[in-house]
């Protein structure tokens, strides 16, 4: 099968790759581009471990075909910190132990960032419903929700 040539922007950098028409973005990120921060928990859109942003919108990268990102802007966990400065959510997740095994963490961070971009002052219920597409089996969600709420408060204070 002949492969497709795709040019796209990932975390602000122009990237080219070859893929089959059936390959997912998650597959290309992980297995072609070596960006293994996005995780595959299910491959069917049910766990959120593969969360990325596509032109600023939160999507499951396991549900997007790789040729579809041609000419678009992709954001992954690898682009969340600015150089050696962690994003406030990343820092708060560390400080508040919002991860145990950590496999769900990249997905939660990407999803939470996208929440706070749209709603800087979410209620606990809003956080819980926004993050309902991300499964975590370790934490019981408690510390994750708290970390997101507290980051939102900090960011509002700083703004």
């Amino acid at each position: 099968m002949s492969k497709l040539h795709v040019t796209t922007t990932i975390n602000g950098e122009e990237v080219e790759f070859l893929c089959t028409p059936a390959q997912t973005v998650l597959d290309v990120l992980r297995n072609t581009l070596g960006l293994t921060g996005s995780k595959e928990g299910c491959g069917t859109g049910d766990c959120g471990a593969c969360s990325i942003t596509l032109d600023g919108r939160l999507v499951c990268s396991c549900l997007v075909l790789a040729p579809e990102i041609r000419g678009r802007k992709v954001g992954t966990i690898e682009g969340m910190a600015q150089g050696d400065r962690l994003h406030p959510l990343q820092q708060k997740f560390l400080e508040m132990a919002a991860l145990q095994c950590g496999i769900c963490t990249p997905g939660f961070l990407i999803a939470a960032r996208s929440l706070l971009e749209q709603n800087p002052d979410p209620s606990e219920t809003e956080v819980r419903y926004w993050l309902a597409g991300n499964l975590c089996r370790c934490t019981g969600y408690d510390k994750i929700v708290r970390a997101v709420l507290e980051t939102a408060a900090d960011m509002r204070g700083a703004a």
Partner: protein
């Protein structure tokens, strides 16, 4: 909570592996790649039960791009009549689980595997393998499997002399059960059913394996024990352990299920045949179908008490699903169900029942939640019948120092009472509850308790002082949820240095001594013990170095706040020597500084938990929601409170899923019907409230920091606590799980 004035132990420090995990850099099982790597796929049985008459792999092997094919013939054969134990696992069954031999025993049972230059070609080659099956009648549910006319899975299993699907029986006995019941004023007997639930870790099993021409094997995979990976792979492939290096990848959740392996030996054999590194990654469908879950159960519990609430007799019969091969967690319900209570007469019997399901694996406090579900529900009914508060009834009968448990232990300083009191005194237990907040909505409150043995076992650690005076600690235990953070706290505390100067690593099987599994709530207990002993040895070395420099006796040197000081006025007047200064002088004063300890740790004390929960039942939709949850547990000492709380919170939410929504559903052909996260419904963020942990720290006197263990006990009480709360709301009892909407409607309708 703890009066001990520690600088680092008990602090909420930032975990050593944290930055890697929030930036996506941490390397989990599926994140590895090797040069020249090829991909492997597994062909799985389409039948729940079938004899395998023959396997023809010729067409698959001939497909361009295919590099190797393996079947059970390539795997070490263990005759069924001779046990080969590795810990609690019997390799006779492990080998047949990894690859079907005589028979396919469940839908999804591996039959063959192919390695090829791409995943697509490997999958296509699997389709070209011709397997001749003779389909057999299958059996899924326990009640069907134990019928006299049930289809038999194995002709070598016998129960009471007859061929059977009951693989083994376990009995715990205390006192005289008949006399006990004869002396009771009230006797309550109930039967219960639960369905298998999956551990639900988000990271599917995966591995990358390289077998080189000289027979040396490198395995990159996540597990709850790299030494288990090495040993099982060695046994299943015939390669000596010394030729296998198992590297522990970061683990994306295990909860017991990653105490066994599925892929590694197959990947090793494929790599050996093909001469190429091989990568295998399970799909979620495969994870559901062919790994885990934990057992479903059928239990009957009978408890007799005096009018004043004294429990005089307790009897339990627990049928536990093993899956397709023997080895269900029978010891969990048999031993744990009545252990929290001082009961003179106990008879607890468990049966390990095989059926055409994937072989079960451990899930937090293996089996104990099943038993507690039954026992703690009967105790709730007993409390109501006797008109005694359910916590008071538990308190009255609670085990204490000197209590003899039916499983054999005589308890030391156990702390069950304290967990009950913590809940009784918690504002949650006294908080008013609006029982009917709206039409068709009812609320209720329930409590339950639970017990887990906890465990010690083999652990190794190496603590080295770097040339620049900092510290590296290596242990042999995968970190499933923050154990590195706890170890860093311990090492910093003992050496008296800043936490940031300690780095903690998990060694591979060739770089650290044997360490048993991360599981059974043993890792913090055992690794803190070996790290403490290593630190003590290092401190002795440091004092000797200072003594040598000062030309005084080592006994005259004290170690405190990260430096050597003369111990008292008589020792002489010397300016202190810091760790950095001693490290800088290490080579001229006697060589590198460091020490390792390898030990079979003992002194683990059981863990107890008591929970209270408020639920709301929507009578129209049949939906049960948890509104408030408080969980008290004695952990001995919380070396890092965040990760102890996290264990409790995570365990409780797993319990909520078990109680309300999770179950394995099979169709008529014996195929799993809901092998996806969409259809197998684990709790999501919007399903649950905050979970309040009440962490009690009543130190275990047999541990240097007082640790008991944390990870298992939180999953023991929730099933019964939630069920009791639902009863409190509705006045109707459920005797089977999950209490999913269709079942709620059924109970309400009937």
């Amino acid at each position: 909570m703890n009066a001990i004035d520690n600088k680092w132990i008990g602090q909420r420090t930032i975990r050593p592996d944290g930055a890697d995990k929030v930036t996506g850099r941490a390397g989990y099982s599926a994140d590895n790649a090797m040069p020249g790597m090829i991909w492997a796929k597994i062909l799985r049985s389409p039948h729940a039960h079938a004899n395998i008459r023959g396997i023809d792999t010729a067409k698959a092997a001939a497909l361009p791009g295919v590099k190797a094919v393996v079947t059970a013939r390539d795997i070490t054969e263990f005759p069924v009549d001779t046990p080969v134990m590795l810990g609690i696992q019997d390799m006779r069954w492990m080998s047949r689980n990894v690859m079907a031999r005589e028979k396919a025993l469940f839908h999804g049972h591996p039959v063959a595997a192919v390695a090829a230059i791409s995943e697509e070609i490997a999958a296509e080659a699997c389709r070209l393998i011709e397997v001749e099956y003779e389909v057999l009648p299958h059996v899924i549910e326990i009640e069907d499997a134990i019928r006299p006319d049930a289809p038999l899975l194995h002709d070598f299993l016998r129960h009471e002399g007859k061929p059977s699907n009951i693989a083994s029986t376990m009995v715990n006995k205390l006192g005289d059960i008949e006399a006990g019941f004869a002396s009771a004023d009230v006797i309550i007997e109930r039967s219960f059913k639960t369905r298998p639930v999956h551990q639900g870790y988000i990271e599917p099993q995966a591995c990358t394996v390289s077998c080189t021409a000289d027979g040396k094997v490198t395995i990159w995979s996540s597990s709850q024990g790299q030494f288990m990976v090495r040993a099982m792979t060695a046994l299943l492939t015939g390669i000596p352990q010394s030729s296998i290096r198992a590297i522990p990848a970061e683990i994306g959740g295990g909860f017991g299920a990653k105490t066994v392996i599925y892929l590694e030996p197959i990947a090793v054999l494929l790599s050996r045949k093909s001469g190429r590194p091989v990568k295998m990654v399970m799909s979620r469908d495969e994870v559901f179908r062919a790994t885990g879950p934990t057992s479903g159960s059928m239990s009957t519990v009978k408890i007799g008490a005096k009018k004043d609430g004294t429990i005089v007799a307790a009897q339990g019969t627990f049928h536990i699903q093993a899956g397709c091969l023997p080895g269900g967690p029978v010891r969990g319900p048999v031993g744990c169900s009545f252990a929290p209570y001082e009961i003179a007469n106990v008879l607890s019997v468990g049966y390990d029942v095989v059926s055409n399901r994937s072989k079960v694996t451990a899930y937090r406090a293996p089996g104990a939640p099943l038993g507690a579900y039954a026992t703690e529900t009967v105790i709730d009914e007993l409390a109501e019948t006797l008109g005694i508060d359910p916590l008071e009834l538990r308190l009255k009968n609670s085990a204490g120092k000197g209590t003899k448990a039916a499983y054999g232990a005589v308890f030391g300083d156990v702390t069950f009472k304290e967990t009950i009191q913590a809940i009784r005194n918690h504002p949650h237990y006294a908080a008013p509850l609006d029982r009917a907040p709206a039409k068709g909505v009812r609320r209720g409150r329930g409590v339950a308790s639970g017990f887990w043995y906890n465990a010690g076992g083999e652990s190794s650690a190496q603590l080295n002082i770097t040339e620049d005076g900092n510290v590296t600690v290596t242990t042999g235990h995968p970190d499933v949820g923050g154990s590195r953070a706890s170890i860093a706290n311990v090492a910093a505390e003992l050496l008296g240095i800043d936490h940031s100067r300690v780095s903690v690593l998990i060694g591979d099987t060739s770089s650290i001594g044997f360490s048993n599994l991360t599981g059974g709530s043993r890792v913090t207990f055992a690794s803190a013990m070996v790290v403490t002993q290593s630190a003590e040895k290092v401190i002795t070395q440091l004092r000797e170095r200072a003594a040598k420099i000062w030309k005084i006796e080592p006994e005259a040197v004290a170690w405190s706040d990260g430096e050597a000081r003369p111990a008292g006025a008589n020792a002489g007047q010397f300016p202190p020597l810091t760790l950095k200064e001693l490290a800088a002088k290490a080579n001229e004063m006697g060589g590198p500084i460091g020490a390792g300890v390898q030990l079979t740790t003992t002194g683990a004390d059981p863990g107890f938990a008591t929970h209270v929960v408020d639920v709301e039942v929507d009578e129209e939709l049949g939906i049960i929601r948890v509104l408030r949850y408080t969980a008290a547990q004695d952990v001995g000492r919380a070396l890092h409170p965040d990760y102890v709380e996290g264990q409790i919170q995570g365990g409780v939410v797993q319990g909520i899923g078990w109680a309300l929504s999770e179950e394995y559903l099979y169709d008529k052909q014996g195929r799993l019907d809901n092998a996806s996260f969409l259809d197998y419904r684990m709790p999501v963020c919007s399903d649950v409230p905050m979970i309040e942990p009440v962490v009690l720290e009543l130190p275990n006197p047999k541990h240097p920091q007082g640790v008991r263990g944390a990870g298992e006990a939180p999953l023991v009480p929730p099933l019964a606590a939630i069920s009791n709360a639902v009863y409190d709301a509705l006045g109707k009892r459920f005797y089977s799980l999950p209490m999913s909407p269709p079942k709620v409607m059924e109970v309400l309708g009937g």
